[in-house]
Symmetry: C2
Subunit: 136 residues, 2 copies
DNA sequence: TTTGATGCAAACTTTTTGCAGCTAC
DNA sequence: GTAGCTGCAAAAAGTTTGCATCAAA
């Protein structure tokens, strides 16, 4: 299958072994919108029932280490994202829905084009290393 | 104690019963920087050893419901914050330290004045109600 | 007196870990 | 063949829940 060859290449380019489980996780990340580990697990089981949840976590960890995947902490769960260009997210407080918002990095922050949404809060978190940890 | 009277007033103004446990949680939130439930519990136990962790969660929930406290989901934990004016956060990927960044709501997004920090990512999340949930 | 909060313990959810066996390279 | 990955099961970590008791109003 052509797409599997692509997954293989993607993995190997990033110094990771190409395994069927990893291909399935990447496929799940591309098919589903901001899935959590459990949603990926569900997707994976339809394709390879023997696949375990621990493997999903392992694979996500590796992909994240290679910079292929972003992680989003929200209401006590972790959501994963393969879109690597910079973008923001809107989160529905009620149904939990998570959607992308396009805003190029460094551009002006304005009330979003999300006229249909009712926005009432905004959280911006910078990630990096504090002065102390840069020395270790 | 004067400060307890203040806590009492704050609680009652927001329609909440004033209990010693709630006063302690508010005090902890003001003393500690972005504590999680466990840090608040530790602080509380030094002052009233009988106080339980479940009560900490209960109180935080009530305070949050009254809009007195903000919650921050980060690396699988929940951090709490009583500074209610709009501000952002910097998070150290290594030691987990969380610090405030002042940036008035709606102002231009620039590389922060945090010259000492080494920033490598930024996450912006809008919170609100999606179109569907506004009808419920 | 009544309504709502607390404390305790147990349950639940999500994520992590250890290890034996298997597989990609 | 060897390093590294997978699957399983158990444990850990954080949060939630149910219920009897207690305190604020």
């Amino acid at each position: 299958m052509a797409s599997e060859l692509t997954f293989d290449a993607l993995l190997r380019e990033n110094g990771l072994r190409a395994t069927p489980q990893r291909a399935i996780v990447i496929e799940a990340l591309m098919e589903l919108s901001h899935p959590d580990a459990d949603a990926i697990f569900g997707y994976a089981q339809e394709r390879q029932p023997s696949m375990s949840l621990a493997t999903v976590y392992n694979v996500l960890d590796k992909l994240r280490g290679a910079g292929l995947v972003h992680m989003l902490d929200l209401h006590g769960r972790r959501y994963f994202d393969v879109r690597l260009e910079h973008h923001d997210h809107v989160h529905c407080r009620q149904c939990g829905q998570l959607a992308d918002v396009n805003r190029p990095f460094g551009t002006r922050l304005v009330v979003p084009q999300l006229t249909a949404w009712q926005i009432d809060d905004q959280a911006l978190i910078w990630e990096g290393l504090c002065p102390e940890c840069q020395q270790g």
